[in-house]
């Protein structure tokens, strides 16, 4: 019986099953820095923006008025509200406070006598917030999303829901020029693998 020679060696040509998880080390001069803002409270809020009792009730809890203009956001400390559609918002609040905020919102809406045809849904476990910063972010987004993320079309505070590769995302530009992305938990592996691959030429650092 002749032995079969195996000339394969663990070199450049082969990828181990976990290759994609270990291929990228943390570059100190990375062009892309990813930081997950873990365990924030995410609340989906729906209501009638023309009902002033509703909007003032929400404002009394959040400390800021809901963004009524399309594709905008407002920020107040740890709380941020994204416009999602004319009667829907995403509220991202400090970790662990979402239950209290939800209760406060329900109480305020009832006390103000607002139309009770509203919905507040805790979706914290279904999605997460990821921040992308660095010199390569603009180019990374160019090849990851169909939306024009150029600074001339994407001012600070703007919120855009669009595609990210084959998944979806809600993006918001921050004052420091970095981008916050809300991604779904069920697509987080996909997102991360795409991010690793797409940021290979810039270097990826996980902060």
């Amino acid at each position: 019986m002749t032995s079969v020679s195996t000339n394969f060696s663990a070199g450049d040509m082969m990828e181990s099953p976990l290759h994609h998880h270990v291929a990228h080390t943390n570059h100190s001069d990375a062009g892309i820095v990813m930081k997950e803002d873990k365990f924030r409270g995410h609340l989906n809020l729906r209501g009638n923006p023309e009902d002033t009792a509703f909007t003032s009730a929400v404002e009394s809890v959040l400390g800021v008025a809901l963004p009524i203009t399309a594709n905008t956001s407002v920020r107040s400390g740890d709380t941020v509200a994204y416009w999602l559609c004319p009667n829907e918002w995403l509220l991202i609040v400090a970790s662990g406070t979402q239950g209290q905020v939800e209760a406060d919102l329900r109480l305020a809406v009832a006390n103000k006598g607002a139309d009770q045809h509203i919905a507040i849904t805790d979706i914290s476990s279904g999605q997460t917030l990821v921040n992308l910063s660095g010199s390569g972010v603009a180019e990374l987004l160019q090849k990851s999303t169909v939306y024009d993320c150029h600074v001339s079309n994407f001012p600070v505070g703007k919120v855009v829901q669009t595609t990210f590769a084959k998944t979806g995302t809600t993006m918001c530009k921050l004052e420091d020029g970095s981008m916050d992305l809300v991604i779904r938990r069920s697509f987080s592996d996909y997102f991360f693998l795409w991010l690793q691959d797409a940021s290979e030429e810039y270097g990826l650092q996980i902060a």
């Binding site: 399309a70 594709n71 559609c85 169909v146 669009t162 595609t163």
Partner: protein
């Protein structure tokens, strides 16, 4: 790729964000029990298939997740306008025919 204006996001976005969801302005019969099977079948299954102006619904799936209406030419694929649910189109086959006629008469004079 088309660039389609979403009347809710108030922006022109890539076609990839949208999906087509069929003919618009189909009214549900007020009293289904009193109409014939044929009329109910027409409502349920039969759609117009015009060559030219078609009013249809689109869904902004990756964006605001709202349905809206579009007026599209099925021949040229040109989207003439998009408008919110509950609104009526300003551009129809009739208005385009009238515009075309006016242009022809303008040329002739």
């Amino acid at each position: 790729m088309h660039h389609i204006y979403c009347p809710y996001c108030e922006e022109t976005r890539e076609e990839e964000e949208y999906s087509y969801t069929g003919e618009a302005h189909i009214e549900r019969p007020k009293d289904p029990a009193s109409i014939t099977d044929e009329a109910w079948g027409d409502y349920l299954f039969f759609r117009s298939n015009p060559r030219g102006i078609h009013h249809e619904m689109w869904f902004h799936a990756a964006g605001c997740r709202r349905y809206f209406n579009a007026t599209r030419d099925t021949h040229s694929y040109q989207i003439h306008e998009t408008y919110k649910m509950g609104e009526l189109p300003t551009i129809t086959a009739k208005t385009i025919a009238a515009d075309t006629l006016a242009a022809q008469q303008g040329d002739a004079s």
